[in-house]
């Protein structure tokens, strides 16, 4: 039935995800981003990237904790939003903040742990974005595809650390996003443990049967 396919869900996610970027662009044109618009845009796009990452990584835990299936329908879309947002964040940093000074950028990456972490996260996102299509899943085989896409956990952690190390005094926000990720990991861990136990139980039941046979 068409109703269960939620045909509006993915388009609505994409449209909704574009709104904050449109808002930043509009406020920039209206001189409403404050005295240091480059820093404000950089920070807001960076925060958006982390929100998309956390949202994408929360889809599976949300499915585990509920009986809903729809979170899995937007997982890829949210992950791609995170990728595009991270790329935009990097471009604002490179073009406007550093005025394309590649030497300064290289020095920053090498010398500053928080920039290095962000840069590594960007690099790690590339293979995930490139293998996000259904065709890539088919080509790689689900197992291999899944192994590659587990990098997303690491990317999420890198994103939170990148934010945590950048903040000057108030660590509330990075801690909140870190907790969202940690809670998701806990739910996944619990579900995996349960699955493992069930499998062992089934195996032992089978074992008993085969012995008695």
């Amino acid at each position: 039935m068409a109703k269960s396919k939620l045909p509006w869900l993915v388009p609505a996610t994409i449209a909704g995800a574009l709104i904050p970027f449109a808002s930043i662009a509009w406020r920039l044109s209206q001189h409403r981003l404050g005295a240091n618009p480059i820093a404000t845009a950089l920070n807001q796009i960076g925060l958006l990237s982390l929100i998309f990452l956390c949202a994408s990584l929360s889809c599976t835990p949300l499915k585990i904790a509920s009986t809903w299936n729809w979170p899995l329908r937007v997982r890829r879309t949210l992950g791609l939003c995170a990728f595009f947002s991270v790329v935009l964040h990097f471009l604002v940093y490179l073009v406007f903040d550093q005025s394309l000074a590649l030497g300064a950028l290289l020095l920053d990456v090498l010398k500053r742990p928080f920039i290095a972490l962000g840069f590594v996260a960007l690099i790690l996102l590339l293979p995930l974005a490139l293998t996000s299509s259904r065709r890539a899943v088919a080509q790689l085989g689900f197992r291999r595809w899944q192994r590659i896409h587990r990098l997303a956990y690491l990317i999420g952690i890198l994103g939170v650390l990148h934010f945590y190390l950048r903040v000057k005094a108030d660590h509330t926000q990075p801690i909140v996003y870190g907790s969202v990720l940690a809670f998701g990991f806990m739910l996944r861990g619990a579900a995996a443990l349960k699955k493992f136990r069930d499998m062992r139980l089934r195996a032992s039941v089978h074992g008993v049967r085969s012995e008695s046979a």
């Binding site: 509006w8 995800a17 709104i19 409403r32 981003l33 240091n36 920053d108 005094a169």
Partner: protein
């Protein structure tokens, strides 16, 4: 005789399949609009948390105080820079005043909470006579002088600001500290009614800053009562703040209530909060990076590309002698 109405051409008839799905289309459309709007609004507000929009209109210049002492600008032009002054809008809406809020724009919205009169500045410690002074007394004693200084924030942005006030050295000479006074400690107002974010514990309050006495006696060190010819708005540190233009901006304590002369180096707020990142001296130094970012360049507010940061913020000629023989990478 009337003819029966002609039936519509078959091409005009809505196919039964589409007709039966009309509710579904409307419903999907509504869900699309509702979901995307909610998601968009949520994302926009989450991502702009901690960086609320600044007020769109520049705040009006506050009127000259109706004190007994006339608000008149005497001297001006000392240490002139020949660099464009940052706009009043930017100076008064892009502030670090954590006691009024952690974002750059929040202090501008809450600055009005600070009541600049009556105000008492306590003079304590190693001094001939401990006493309390009010703002009018200070204006009567020293008059008002305009100084246009560079302000370099430790966050690697900078401004050019026309301050109004008097040299700190004038006050120090008048107060006659004793020979045991080796340091000067500056303390900011502690009052959660006027500074609501003192309810949070991001830093320990009150905010404390300090200078070595010879630094405090340097002709550049300044106490500001105003900017752009008008009294300081709350967010810029009304009614009285410290300006040390060769040091990072955080050395300039705002809304001062106490100046204390002491023998020991004062424990300053940021150096206590993050000792590896903020030292007691905090001289602007392009060669000594903040552990997390470079101090080699800065963004001048209002400019697109970065500028090279100058040693001692361009005031080396006036202050480099104070630090002769000191390892500035160690005493950062």
């Amino acid at each position: 005789m009337r003819n029966p109405p002609r039936p519509p051409a078959s091409s005009e008839i809505t196919p039964a399949k589409l007709y039966s799905r009309r509710r579904e289309f409307i419903k999907s459309g509504a869900l699309f609009v509702g979901t995307s709007a909610t998601l968009g609004a949520g994302l926009t507000s989450l991502s702009s948390m901690g960086s609320a929009d600044p007020p769109v209109k520049p705040p009006p210049l506050p009127p000259a105080p109706k004190g007994a002492v006339p608000w008149r600008i005497g001297k001006r032009g000392q240490f002139a820079l020949g660099e464009a002054e940052t706009s009043y809008q930017d100076i008064t809406t892009y502030n670090n005043y954590y006691e009024l809020g952690l974002s750059k724009s929040e202090p501008a919205n809450l600055g009005f909470l600070i009541k600049p009169r009556p105000w008492t500045l306590r003079i304590t410690g190693e001094v001939e006579q401990e006493r309390s002074l009010d703002i009018d007394t200070l204006i009567r004693w020293f008059g008002l002088e305009e100084r246009v200084y560079r302000m370099r924030c430790v966050e690697a942005w900078s401004m050019v600001i026309p301050w109004l006030g008097f040299p700190l050295a004038d006050l120090l000479k008048k107060l006659a500290p004793t020979s045991r006074a080796k340091y000067v400690r500056f303390t900011t107002l502690l009052d959660p009614e006027q500074l609501p974010n003192q309810a949070s514990h991001v830093l320990s309050w009150p905010y404390v800053e300090g200078l070595r006495i010879d630094e405090a006696m340097n002709p550049l060190a300044f106490l500001a009562l105003g900017l752009y010819g008008a009294p300081l708005p709350g967010q810029n540190g009304a009614p009285l703040r410290l300006i040390v233009p060769w040091k990072y901006g955080f050395k300039g304590g705002k809304s001062l209530v106490e100046i204390r002369f002491q023998t020991d180096e004062p424990v300053t707020t940021w150096s206590q909060s993050a000792p590896s990142e903020y030292g007691f001296y905090a001289n602007v130094n392009p060669r000594v990076d903040h552990p997390r970012w470079s101090q080699a360049s800065e963004r001048r507010i209002g400019e697109l590309s970065r500028r090279k940061t100058l040693p001692f913020n361009g005031y080396a000629e006036q202050v480099a002698d104070l630090y002769r023989g000191m390892d500035l990478a160690r005493y950062f």
